[in-house]
Subunit: 305 residues, 2 copies
């Protein structure tokens, strides 16, 4: 089990020379996801060596330009790269119409199928699930309909305790599947060997919560409780809490308060307003409330084992 | 009179780390134009210090992604920058619908007015004109409806020949407007001083032709005859003339043939296919046909006086 999060872009509003709007590449339990896709995302993917073909699922938090204007270019590039695999796109209602119109007008004929999953619910719901990972929405509150996303590894089967198993010559490889499935083993003598003796507990599943632009929203805490990693967008420092409230963003302090209340392992903040020349202020401010905080920067990779 | 062309992007198909799709910033006779707007254009504008507020007219050659996917982001940024001046966008039919839908869905409320000029004609026509400059379409032939653009300075009034004028004490500043307008001056003695003696010819108006993706199309030669500067997209070298024809692009040799037939002052080629690692081959190939050829590169500025 492992999780690796690559920051592709983490600045707000408009692209600048060294400022790219929101986008992240998440590898979790051998699944590969793209989260948000501001203008320039595909350039950043190339820069940080993200394999285009690995991605089969793209999650868009909301339809402000700095979170999705790079999507159509990426989908068009997949056509040029002769992609054939289905691609799933999750995002607010309307994303299908606007994307398909752009692809139609630019005559970007693609062999591959784009499957849109348009979201409308204001309740947290599972929107993707396979045998490795599940993804759940985190309803946020911004100026337009917005969701964060919670990525969770599936609990794996128990691990074999080979040393203990070797104490019983009668137990062989034929029993391993039953042991992994949690079953006790009855020996020919009638003695029952309890499963707990024959197994080690599985590794704890990892969980990552992505919360984009949102007003300070403490009611998300139960959804993201105890996650290993939380990315929470901030935009402003506490001195502009009024502006944050008005534009439905959070301050760095508020992101830290969410992290503290939810008892998360680590907090990452990003989506810095261009008005702040020194982004280390975001770290300083958050640290007063929540110690384990890091700044998002393009190219930074956060890894958890 | 002066002309300055800044290459913002000049690569084909998909954005890469150091490859930006087509976009150019043209200053001509104190008018400021943006030509094509691939993804990443606004980042390149910031990098090369192009003043966003100077631009009032954007010309899009065709609706393939590598020529217009950066437009909506730029228009959205103008909203964030509180632009109030009208902005004119020229491009193929359909550009209005797709742009307005994107701005609507991303709720990019702007105070300024976007005036779309949708083009449908297959004949060269004047689409912009003021007292400084005129802009004419150059009908091209690509896989979708495409125009190049011809930018021409207006002929200025004659210049005063101050030294010759000073030979006639009777001629004063009150006569200057008449002299500039081409009139002869009659002295009190009845002697007529011909206008040619009192004036210098105006500087020759400069002309720039932008020809984007197109199949080799010699019938554009009469439209661009004798221009001072021609940008002609190429994509392929002559070894892939078959592919150029199939995908309705030109080779570097073909661009040079157009430049030679049209007797242009200087040729610039660009829109290099990603398959060529060494773009100097485009220069070598064109040079065999037309000597005064330069390669487009992001950040290169071509100036004419």
């Amino acid at each position: 089990m492992s999780l690796s999060l690559t920051i592709l872009g983490c600045h707000s509003a408009t692209p600048r020379v060294n400022a790219y709007p929101t986008s992240q590449y998440l590898e979790i339990n051998n699944r590969h996801f793209l989260i948000d896709c501001g203008e320039g995302t595909q350039r950043q993917m190339r820069k940080y060596k993200v394999g285009f073909s690995k991605i089969n699922h793209i999650f868009i938090s909301h339809l402000h330009g700095d979170h999705f204007y790079g999507l159509v270019g990426l989908l068009s590039t997949y056509g040029i790269l002769s992609r054939e695999k289905d691609l799933h796109v999750y995002g607010p209602e309307g994303i299908k119409e606007v994307t398909l119109l752009q692809l139609k007008i630019s005559q970007s004929h693609a062999k591959y199928k784009i499957i849109f999953h348009e979201l409308t619910s204001n309740k947290s719901e599972i929107i993707f699930e396979d045998d490795h990972v599940s993804v759940k929405t985190i309803p946020l509150h911004h100026r337009v309909y917005t969701n964060g996303y919670l990525f969770e590894e599936k609990e794996k089967s128990k691990k074999l305790h080979i040393q203990n198993i070797s104490n019983y010559k009668e137990i062989g490889k034929a029993d391993y599947l039953n042991i992994k499935a949690g079953k006790d083993i009855t020996l020919s003598t009638g003695e029952v060997i309890l499963n707990d003796e024959l197994t080690l507990p599985p590794k704890k599943p990892l969980r990552f919560a992505f919360c984009s632009d949102t007003i300070y929203k403490p009611d998300i805490v139960p959804i993201i409780k105890n996650v290993d990693l939380l990315y929470h967008e901030t935009t402003f420092l506490a001195d502009r809490e009024d502006l944050a409230k008005k534009t439905k963003h959070s301050t760095s302090k508020q992101a830290a308060q969410i992290a503290k209340s939810a008892n998360v392992g680590q907090l990452i903040v990003g989506h810095y307003s261009g008005r702040y020349k020194d982004i280390s202020l975001f770290e300083d401010e958050a640290k007063e409330v929540f110690k384990n905080i890091k700044l998002a920067n393009p190219g930074t990779i956060f890894k958890l084992q």
